[in-house]
């Protein structure tokens, strides 16, 4: 009874099975299996937030993709992913809504990436580091001209502030809504719009030498 009582405390209350006339045992309850669609549109089981490995395998590619797009450098992505999941490890057990996992990880990833972008800008400003050459893996099926466009894109992004850059990528590349961007960046919707306007001003004009 003690064992089951402990299970009840951690697992939730399940159905009661009568053992004798005076005693019954309550079985632990497991959350029902839910199917969700992944980034590729395929249906898969929603990961259990208490299973760190499962969460990592499910969301690491997403965090890596967001990271590489935000940072524009593949070399830092590995480190970023590890940092994001190390931070997530602390609060993962307290997360009660599995659906919120993706947005929560995105918030951590954006916060960490923004911090890295600011540090990089500071190092460039202090001439401790040169502007990194864009070396990104991209979809080869888009053609060689895509490589030039990607390089041009990141040259422009490097001239923006970290906040404007993040907002623009989340909106135009990741396809997030204004509400989602506001939640991820922990700011208001109008702030997001302002950042997007500032970022857009860097396009549609010849690139400054």
């Amino acid at each position: 009874v003690t064992t089951f009582a402990r299970l009840r405390a951690t697992e939730g209350v399940g159905p009661s099975l009568p053992l004798t006339r005076w005693m019954s045992v309550t079985l632990p309850d497991r959350p029902p299996l839910r199917l969700v669609r992944n980034d590729d549109g395929e249906a898969e089981a929603e990961p259990d937030p208490r299973d760190f490995d499962q969460v990592f395998r499910r969301f690491a590619p997403y965090v890596a993709r967001v990271g590489v797009r935000l940072l524009g450098a593949e070399g830092e992505v590995d480190d970023l992913v590890q940092e994001v999941f190390m931070e997530a490890h602390r609060g993962l057990s307290s997360l009660r809504v599995p659906k919120a996992l993706r947005g929560w990880l995105a918030r951590i990833a954006v916060r960490r990436a923004t911090r890295r972008l600011r540090r990089r800008k500071l190092r460039v400003l202090l001439s401790l580091e040169s502007v990194p050459e864009t070396d990104l893996p991209f979809d080869a099926s888009l053609g060689p001209e895509n490589a030039a466009e990607v390089a041009a894109l990141y040259r422009r992004l490097d001239r923006m502030s970290a906040d404007d850059r993040v907002a623009w990528i989340l909106k135009n590349v990741e396809g997030e809504s204004l509400d989602e961007i506001a939640a991820i960046c922990a700011c208001s919707k109008s702030t997001v719009q302002r950042r997007l306007r500032r970022a857009a001003a860097h396009f549609d004009a010849p690139e400054a030498p």
Binding site: D53, F56, R57, A60, P61, A64, R65, G67, V68, R69, E74, V77, D78, V81, Q82, F85, M86, H89, L136, P137, F138, D139, L142, N146, E149, V150, A152, L153, R156, I169, N172, V173, A200, F203, D204, A205, P206, E207, A208, P209
Partner: protein, 239 residues
């Protein structure tokens, strides 16, 4: 390179950027993350242990009474203030402390006899082999030729301490010679001669012995009187 880039083209180009992470990359990153988590856990454990140790040490420091060594008593030896100095005609002198009673019994060219009835006095005697210098103190007789010594009454004993020269001490049947830096206690006995005859030679002694009792040294004639009063006192008695 510097051509305008439309926002829509930029967005399309951005969407082409992929992380390229496969299952191998994920597993490698997962292993690395686990390793970093282990390191963090170890650090937290070490930090926790360190914190507990620090708190325990702070608790011990704050709430336990550290036995402190009692302050050692500082003993300062201060010489007793000299109450009076008795000068003898041959240049010898007796420095007596407060409450001491020095009486000159005989003061001639061949003998100076003095008595220390109470307290203590330090005698500084000019060497002169032809003159006897004797100090009586409670039955103890100290005879010197030329020296510096101290005689002190204490309870039933008399201390004789020689700082220079040599003295011969007679205490009843006991006889002793003390040399420089020697001291010894002697039992007090009964004095043979009365002190009243002490000042017989004052003022009339050969070489002017003991004609300069000053500084308030008490005499048997009139203890507490100055030199002038003592002289008058002696004159009345016809001495």
């Amino acid at each position: 390179v510097n051509a305008p880039l439309r926002e829509s083209d930029a967005a399309r180009a951005g969407r082409g950027v992929q992380s390229g992470w496969g299952s191998t990359d994920v597993e490698r990153a997962l292993a690395a993350t686990h390793a970093r988590l282990r390191v963090r856990k170890q650090r937290m454990v070490l930090g926790g242990v360190g914190f507990v140790v620090a708190m325990a040490a702070a608790f011990l420091l704050l709430f336990t009474k550290v036995p402190t060594r009692p302050l050692e008593t500082l003993v300062v030896l201060v010489p007793k203030p000299v109450e009076s100095v008795t000068h003898f005609a041959d240049g010898s002198e007796a420095r007596s402390s407060a409450g001491s009673k020095v009486v000159v019994r005989t003061s001639t060219a061949t003998a100076i006899e003095t008595a220390l009835d109470s307290g203590e006095a330090e005698f500084s005697v000019v060497p002169n082999p032809e003159r006897r210098f004797v100090v009586h103190a409670g039955g103890v007789t100290v005879e010197v030729v030329g020296t510096r010594f101290r005689v002190k009454h204490q309870d039933a004993r008399v201390l004789v301490e020689v700082s220079r020269g040599k003295v011969r001490v007679t205490a009843g049947a006991e006889r002793a010679e003390l040399v420089e830096d020697e001291s010894r206690w002697f039992a007090r006995g009964v004095e043979a001669s009365p002190t009243e005859t002490a000042m017989d030679d004052v003022g009339g002694g050969v070489n002017g012995a003991a004609n300069a009792i000053d500084g308030g040294a008490r005499s048997a004639v009139n203890p507490g009187a100055g030199p002038r009063e003592r002289f008058v006192d002696l004159a009345r008695r016809g001495d």
